[in-house]
Subunit: 300 residues, 2 copies
């Protein structure tokens, strides 16, 4: 398949790896040629074999020509997306599908009124997509079911794990789930219940170990003899009580953020953040490999 | 150290493994002798070497005599705990510390007015503790700082990861965090945004991969060039908007639970739940090993 990467920041560069390592021909384009070159460099360093299938397109017209699929990862500013999609719309071939990596803008906000609306949608990865499989697909009201099905199949062919939302919603699914957890995390620290580091441990040495291979529903399904129905009967009232206490939206005050930041900086100084990110990506890569090996080992 | 396990269900049996494999002498007691024998059997199957340090105490008095530490995992019913702690209080040696595994009852509800209140607290594990390191320590208002420090050190000596709450709070920390995530998960399904299976994938193939080794704060700290402060400046307003939408506590209706249950049963039939739990525990054991190996490999 012929795939085009538009926009070559961290997300676009990682997407280039995803498409090229699965055997697709990848054209990379960014208005800043240096960014496109940096992305190609990133692919070379990450997967030299895959990089042989990547090349740089000098302009948008060349980038789109003959493309089956376009993954757009331009900056997260609405006017930029709107202008870009107007350009894309004028150049688009008869069957090309275009997905945006945006984490916050619904496709309806930048594809309304365009000619090829049925072939635009959001395909939001968790960064970086070459390490984390989850991709959420969010249709605009005018995205066709065929487009959604095509992108779902494409993502699975790449080894990604797509989920499909029925409609646009603020934060999509991933950031809504993260928001719920972060809201309580900030509240626990603000209320003096425990330290930021202890909240992090509650997840990384506790709940996160299950959530790394079982979702929240599958987790509780295993925590009652007769499964999730019994679990909800027994604990539903307790959780409803907690939900009422947690219906308490708060802004993250500068003071609170400063307290949490102090804990974070004690663990990782500001100057070490780049190397810590490199460490995280290495950890993620090994973790995903280990997860697969464990799943295969237990199934045999 | 001499450790006593009171109550021999799933939690107590797993605790016996935790204490015995770390080299402690473990006395096991349950009013039902068959339960104590089943617990000893569980230790034998899990760690035969550790089981050599375990024995069964025929009655509560023998169980408590000379114990340095007691981990109580009796049934989660307040009158049972209250009666048990009155018995314990009458028999307790001059330095023994007693921690309850309760996931929902604060220690103040069953230790008020007793003689040795300073040496009672909650030490709530995530099930099963021999596989998941996190333990939350929750003091009653009368628990002494020395008791808290002693149990924290003891847990670390066992290879567990203790966190300490400043005071009693409904759901403690772990279930409050789980409640926040579950609340949004149920809401997304109820509102028809996506299927239960897709919510699970959003975590198990997405956010959960990071949360398995980075807590929620450490995760976002790495997601902005200048760390968590910049992240909160950029995205705080977006998350506050989501938090306001999520301040919408709902009971889990039987209809909603039935829909989710249908998805779960399609993946794992009811009759397969016991073997699925065995699979989960095997997965957890391998995952914790893999996490340690990855951390060590990346640090060298």
């Amino acid at each position: 398949m012929k795939v085009t990467i538009l926009g070559c920041g961290v997300v676009g560069s990682s997407w280039a790896v995803v498409f090229a390592r699965a055997g697709n021909d990848v054209l990379i384009h960014d208005p800043q040629t240096a960014s496109a070159e940096a992305a190609l460099d990133f692919v070379r360093k990450t997967d030299a074999e895959a990089a042989k299938r990547c090349s740089i397109a000098p302009d948008l017209e060349t980038a789109l020509k003959g493309a089956d699929y376009v993954q757009e990862s331009a900056p997260e500013r609405l006017p930029i997306k709107q202008a870009l999609y107007r350009q894309i719309d004028a150049l688009l071939g008869p069957a090309t599908v275009v997905a945006s990596s945006t984490s916050g803008l619904p496709a309806s906000a930048f594809t309304e009124g365009l000619t090829h609306g049925a072939r635009y949608l959001v395909a939001h990865p968790i960064n970086p997509p070459h390490l984390i499989p989850l991709v959420e697909l969010i249709p605009a009201p005018w995205t066709s079911p065929e487009t959604l099905a095509f992108v779902g199949d494409l993502m699975r062919s790449l080894g990604q794990s797509p989920i499909t939302l029925a409609r646009e919603i603020n934060g999509f699914v991933v950031n809504r789930l993260q928001s719920a957890l972060l809201g309580e995390a900030f509240r626990l620290v603000e209320d003096g219940i425990c330290s930021p580091t202890d909240v992090d441990l509650a997840i990384s040495e506790g709940l996160g170990l299950r959530w790394c291979f079982l979702g929240p529903f599958a987790t509780i399904d295993l925590n009652a003899a007769q499964g999730i129905k019994e679990y909800c009967q027994n604990l539903g009232p307790m959780y409803f009580g907690l939900a009422q206490e947690q219906a308490d939206p708060r802004e993250w005050s500068p003071d609170l953020v400063a307290r949490i930041e102090a804990d974070m900086r004690a663990l990782v100084p500001l100057s070490d953040l780049p190397s810590r990110r490199y460490w995280r990506d290495g950890f993620l890569a090994e973790l995903v490999r280990a997860k697969r090996a464990i799943a295969e080992g237990l199934n045999t």
